[in-house]
């Protein structure tokens, strides 16, 4: 370079954001928790490329998602696009690999997806999805497990006050059969989805707009908004429609789910039958799940999913039924922040080893490595700045303890351990330091 080159403005694209450590640490914790819970239940990791042939992604999404897709011509003049969700690439993957991998196939996938959406509602154009599914079986066991996994996931994330709302599309379909509305099911279910937001009358009005008479619509809506104990509602339904096979298969599957939850000794109040949830799209055909935080119901469902009949019909003749759910990582992080459950840390390190003079660096690195062997995350300050400056750094970043050793301490093999929250300190021999640190961190 000659002369003074002009600087390039260091900016990000509209709708995109950087993740500095304070945002990234909680995000990694959530992803790590999801990963460990999914793995503990035998879901295997898989991934697909960010870029696909555009026709793969546009095949199923409809016009709305087409407009949102980042689509372009690559160097080889191929018509390519960035994935806008993890489901469509998974369908393509399933068509390609499941013949060899076999079924049941249990997978999880986590990764960024891209949508050129309107950013006015705090939406981002790049965000993470975090899905798990069991493919290739219609067994209710797989449906039941989805509810158990969602429960375990939220508990492991430290949440207690939540409820998983569960329904089965077969019950809604049975009611539509009884009401003679099968051919208008999309209109009915779309309207039904709005019930909690707009209320019964507005929903009836919307249905009337589709030519559905109120007395017919009421049959579906009144059952959908039934309140009471799970068993009692299901008993009433079964008595009301004893011969409707669709509806009774839905009841059977739901009963089995709640029975297993009970046998496993899980808190029943976190699993709630909600005949009103329909999850708009045509896609789902069986059990449906939504998950709400009781202290932040307004934020919407943070983990949703359901059973579908045919994952990859666009790509293969092989019928691949499945069931799964998706954790809304960004929504969950927003919620955790509002619930004040996110620590304000800029470092994963718990302990800062301060430095008095670079001649003793070996000792500082040695003690750090000893502490790491006991499972601590330990940072060594790289410069022999004034000790006050080093402690200031630790307080800004969020270290909880500092290890301090000047020439005096080093000469007697001692290490000062300072608790940066309580502002107390004590001196320990090398052999006692880890245990002392553990005591301070637990206290």
């Amino acid at each position: 370079m000659t002369g003074k080159p002009k600087l390039i403005e260091p900016r990000t694209l509209k709708g995109f954001r950087d993740y500095p450590p304070a945002l990234m640490i909680p995000r990694e914790e959530v992803l790590q928790t999801a990963r460990s819970v999914y793995r503990a239940h035998g879901f295997a990791p898989m991934d697909t490329p960010a870029l696909e042939y555009a026709e793969i992604l546009t095949g199923k999404g409809g016009e709305e998602s087409d407009r949102l897709i980042y689509r372009f011509r690559d160097q080889g003049d191929r018509d390519v696009a960035l994935r806008f969700d993890l489901t469509v690439p998974f369908a393509r993957f399933a068509a390609l690999h499941i013949p060899k991998l076999g079924t049941p196939f249990k997978r999880y996938a986590m990764g960024p997806v891209w949508r050129g959406e309107n950013t006015s509602h705090g939406r981002y154009r790049e965000f993470w999805q975090c899905d798990f599914d069991t493919i290739g079986t219609t067994a209710n066991a797989a449906d039941i497990e989805v509810a158990l996994v969602i429960h375990e996931l939220l508990v492991t994330l430290g949440l207690e006050r939540f409820e998983i709302r569960i329904n089965n599309r077969l019950i809604l379909n049975g009611l539509l059969e009884e009401a003679g509305l099968v051919h208008q099911s999309v209109a009915v279910l779309r309207a039904l989805d709005k019930l909690p937001k707009v209320g019964m009358e507005a929903v009836l009005e919307e249905m009337a707009g589709h030519g559905i008479p109120p007395q017919t619509a009421r049959l579906v809506l009144e059952w959908a908004s039934a309140k009471g104990e799970t068993d009692e509602i299901l008993d009433r339904l079964a008595r009301a429609f004893p011969t409707n096979q669709t509806l009774n298969e839905g009841i059977r599957r739901l009963r089995e789910l709640f029975l297993v939850v009970n046998t496993c000794g899980l808190p029943m109040e976190r699993f709630r039958l909600d005949l009103a949830i329909a999850r708009g799209l045509d896609y789902y055909t069986g059990t449906i799940y939504e998950t709400f935080l009781l202290d932040l119901v307004g934020i919407g469902s943070i983990c949703s999913g359901g059973r579908y009949d045919n994952l990859a019909g666009v790509f293969t003749q092989q019928k691949l039924p499945g069931v799964g759910a998706s954790l809304g990582v960004d929504r969950l992080l927003t919620a955790l922040e509002e619930l004040d459950q996110v620590g304000k840390k800029e470092t994963p390190a718990q302990i800062l080893v301060t430095q008095f003079d670079s001649g003793s660096l070996g000792h500082y690195y040695r003690i750090a490595s000893l502490l790491r062997k006991d499972g601590f995350s330990v940072e060594v300050f790289p410069e022999a700045r004034k000790i006050g400056q080093q402690l200031q750094y630790a307080e800004k970043k969020g270290h909880r303890l500092a290890v301090i050793a000047g020439p005096e301490e080093l000469s007697v093999g001692g290490w000062k351990l300072k608790n940066l929250f309580k502002r107390t300190e004590c001196q320990f021999g090398e052999g006692e330091l880890a245990q002392a640190a553990k005591r301070e961190l637990d206290s």
Copy 2:
């Protein structure tokens, strides 16, 4: 949809690949190990978007990387591009955020990058990078830590026979000063980089092509290829050029590094001085690292990096020196596979709980959940297929144990535990099952 829609062929783009579980499980293990080692040393996670303004990415990369970049116009007619490495977006990030975050700033970043490269050498157009850096300090402590982190990383990955080759650009620069070749440093270092591949004579010839006389070039080359003990080589160098400040600062920093490695009690043979490594590019200005597996030297360095003077000069006046390294995830995975250190598993689950009849599902899920509390990863087979079929599934996927309970076992509260490798089985009460599983997995 009406009629029978035409199927879309489920294919991936040239140069892109799916990661089914058998590929993804080892990849996640490597990333997870890197993450835990980086965190244990106080490096904090951060991320930047996949998409940036094209000018951000093309600013520094030169013509070659420009041709490789996936670049297009987005919906808002912005000139955008996919990141081709993690360093350039990090430089942009640093210019934008470091004024507020402060220094030293220790970070790691892991994620996919995209390059429209020629795929003929088994190269992929989407691959992962996994970098760590300390920014905002010139202290040698940060350089030393990079070597310690690389060592810890490889040991934690289960590797033993490797060496980290270390050099310092200041020594090469000092030699160039002595030889009067400072203004031809790029040509000399590029040629030097090829020394191990093509030999001394070919390198001299290349340099002669740039007008560098062989007797001058020899001064640099002979020192660069010096063999012997680290201390002995550095002593000889110091005696030969006692007044060259650049060179002696390089020697001082290297001596300090090897001293700390020794104080920490690490195996010295894994840290080797190699005055020949120059790492082609202009970018590096101080310590340089390359890491070779002794049983697979030919595969190239699996973890490389170095110190640089000015990370973000394209974006800011603030001078940001730093030091870091990058783990070559794909190269490492290839190596682990060749060394037969990758398990052939398609599931993260260790134990499969088989199913006799769906009426007992609650008990199967309950026992699975008990085993998970003891840290096992446990899958419940979703269908009550023939037991032989379920065990076949477990053997294909790579579960190590199966838990079996038919009506007889359930009636006495017993669980059969089958070791799928040894093909032995034994019956246990519920309270003994976890311990028995641990014994079998350890054996």
